[in-house]
Amino acid sequence: MDRINKAKLILWTILGIACAVAITRFIFGLGVTTNLTDNTPWGFWIGFDVMGGVALAAGGFVIASFNYIFGKKVLHPIARAAILTAFLGYIAVAIGLLFDLGLPWNIWHMIIYWNPHSPLFEVGWCVMLYLAVLTLEFTPVVLEKYPNIKLLSIIHGFLYKIRIPLVILGIMLSTLHQSSLGSLFLAMPYRLHPLWYSPIIPIIFFLSAICLGFMMVMLESMTSSYLYRKEQEINILEKIKKYASYMIIVYLLVRFCDIIIRGAGSFLFNISWGMTLFWIEILLSCIIPLVIFSIPIKKIKISILYFGAFIGVVGVVFNRLNVGGITHLNNLTEIGSFYFPSLMEFSISAGVVSVAMLVFFFFVENFKVWEEMPNINNSIKKSTRFDSFKVYLGTNKIINRTKFSFAFIIAFSLTFSFISGSEIHSSGFEKTPVTKARGADTLIIDGNRDGYGVVFAHENHKKQGFTCGYCHHMNKPDDKATGCYECHDDMYLTGEAFRHEWHSSSNGANINCFECHNKSESKGKNFKFSDKKAIQICKDCHNNIIPSDSRIKILKTYKTLSYTDAMHSLCIKCHENKLKSDALIKQSKPNLAQCSSCHKNFKSYKKVKKLFQDKKNNKWVVIPIFKQIEGNIVQ
């Protein structure tokens, strides 16, 4: 298999994975597919797909300006490829943005609802317009292929005539939005680290985008030469290398002058996370590429040059990621939780990049993007012997397509099966399992063991005339007083009392579905639950599931309240009623229904006490409040 086909096979596989994840994202929302939080609402999709993507596509306007405006005709052979990369880059940005937006179908709102104060509004408009300009710039390449159709050739002629104004318009728009991506962060002085927050961040972004543009074009030229087994374009590489070095030096100067003039110089040598990230970024984006580019091209291997350009591209994208999220103070300090992208976020981003690359290969192979069309068939060996592989995958012509389809389908279906539904539904919930109440006559009811529980005296309540069944309102078979924790098994989340799987499995209760569910007469598929019958069936095994003195009379639902809700609804109701009815108690114990009357300051309270009274810590905490309970379980 040839290099290019191997690459395509990998890309199709990634695309398959991404498609499965994309479906999940749109069905279940952002919360379960990403690691974004209220503290870090922007993540990898904004940092890499949008900010990195726009920067990566900077090659288009940089090369176009050098080729058409500055008259550097040496660059002409790669101008079309650069514009195609930019075009696909922006398409990729738009697709990436669709995943990140909460309401992507409203993206057109930017056209009709205006807010010119917003940098994002400006970026949105510029990207839209620039995408249109790039389309017009690239269309001639497609139209060239059909010289016989008259209409198309007229359009081609027209576009060719206006190519210089188009290029100039493209440069104007690029200047704006490359820098405006930096302006996005001007409004966040409280988020960005001082090494990155600068009043001139738009200018820094523009300069680094030009550096990246050059390096990206080098990378692209070398990669496609490798994949399509062409000769390396040494002359062009040498030129771009020179321009790139100059731009990097300018960028470095501006960056450091800015930091020193602002007075953030002390952070450069003050050992911290911010400093480390900054120096890594400078090393990657400036120093390594500068050193490699300073060596004459004939003295080094092409692979080292490739390495230099690649590291430079990674460095500038790393800058975008730093500004976009990594160095935000809630990530660097202990104020918030540290954000790290989830696997799903990575796979969507990888999928978007693969789509762009596949489309690039398509255009390169079918249209005259380069001076010579790459010949992809010359390397297929003609084997005369019988090839069993070929029999199954088809003839020479379609063998690759079959392979790609298989790769895509297998990757898609495997990923889809790995994304488990229950995991999706449960992710995002912080489960707090409940533990058994400690003690016998005097219980310590403290489900999550945070020392913030209640001491409950069984005897006292018995004296008040409550029977066991009043609180132990439902019991397991042959059990007189099942613990609360068995059904109310999560501190804050509702749970299931009825274990459906256990009851239907042959190892468990082994009950036929139709014993509980009524077969609907009309279709036979529609199951309907019948109260009376079910209870009869339950009673066969559960003799005293509902004690006669229970507060529950009829089973209405198998959902259980959360532990806190169950406890509070059980206790408070009585306490409040008691307080209202009994004037004597009201006088002697006016606080009977106050929180602190039950949640007393006893021994195991220490942990919270410490938290509260540690004044140096001065931590503010939220105490869970009683939930408003809709729909009472008590009949």
């Binding site: 919360g31 974004l36 609402p41 909460g102 409203n106 318009l169 503010w620």
Partner: protein, 276 residues
């Protein structure tokens, strides 16, 4: 311009305001999710009461006079109102979450678990007050101790100053929200031993030794920070266009002239050659 004044020393932490807010806005019960912050605010909880052992503090949207969220929203879904409440229009929202990023207090919350998510935050019961259903926000009317009160901003500022003046030993001599980030409509006064500097988002980085290097003044409204960049947009746009056209014209002309000169030179050489 209406405002809310919360007096930390009077709050007893009974959570009545939280309940009232939930009831009037018909908010679902809270579930602990991993994307929530620890301050108790969430898409279903627009106000929360924080406790530190001695004092209680009610958190809610601060309703800035010059809100960062309003200035950054690309579609203008968030907007200021004449009563001072900062409200939002769900129908315009794109879901870009720029408002959450830009808010200096970190207030707006997101429906992370919904396939059709919206931004959620306190709106000072704007629509209900406009309708005339209620005369003041549910939280202030529910407060049993008068720790949080609603009224004209100027009146409340006077009241806050009066309280501080009458009991200078008890109160800290600052009105939080009077000037910071251009002033807010939710004001706090607090006890001497309980400064509320942490309320401003990431203000505690100063404790961590990260100073304000090149950052705007604390009392400066955030929309000002983007003003120069947005103002420069038309000039950068047209300037770049003019520059590029100029360079193109010069270089094109030079290469044309060079072409003419070259062809003349060639002619001369040819003629010379013919002569010889």
């Amino acid at each position: 311009m209406k405002a809310i004044l919360t007096d930390i020393t009077k709050c007893i932490g009974c959570n009545e305001c939280v309940k009232a807010c939930k009831v009037i806005n018909n908010l679902p019960p809270d579930k602990p999710r991993e994307w929530q912050k620890t301050d108790g605010l969430s898409a279903s909880n627009w106000t929360s009461v924080l406790h530190n052992g001695k004092y209680n503090l009610r958190k809610q949207c601060r309703h800035c006079l010059e809100p960062a969220c309003v200035s950054v929203c690309p579609v203008g879904a968030l907007h200021n109102t004449e009563t001072g409440a900062v409200i939002y229009d769900n129908n315009k929202c794109l879901g870009c979450r720029y408002c959450m990023m830009a808010c200096p207090y970190g207030i707006p919350r997101y429906d992370w678990d919904e396939p059709v998510p919206y931004i959620k935050k306190c709106i000072l019961c704007y629509y209900k007050i406009q309708n005339g259903t209620i005369s003041q926000p549910a939280c202030t009317s529910a407060c049993p101790t008068g720790a949080t009160i609603y009224g004209e901003r100027n009146e409340l500022l006077k009241e806050a100053r009066r309280r501080i003046k009458s009991e200078p030993d008890k109160y800290l001599n600052t009105i939080y929200g009077e000037k910071e980030v251009g002033g807010t409509n939710v004001l706090y006064i607090t006890a001497k031993d309980c400064p509320l500097d942490f309320l401003l988002y990431y203000n505690n980085r100063i404790e961590k030794g990260i100073e304000l290097a090149g950052m705007p003044d604390l009392n400066e409204a955030l929309p000002i920070t983007t003003k120069w960049a947005m103002g420069a947009v038309p000039f950068a746009f047209l300037g770049m266009g003019a520059l590029m056209s100029g360079i193109y014209w010069v270089i094109n002309r030079r290469s044309k002239l060079q072409g003419v000169v070259q062809s003349e030179n060639q002619k001369k050489e040819d003629e010379d050659g013919q002569d010889k």
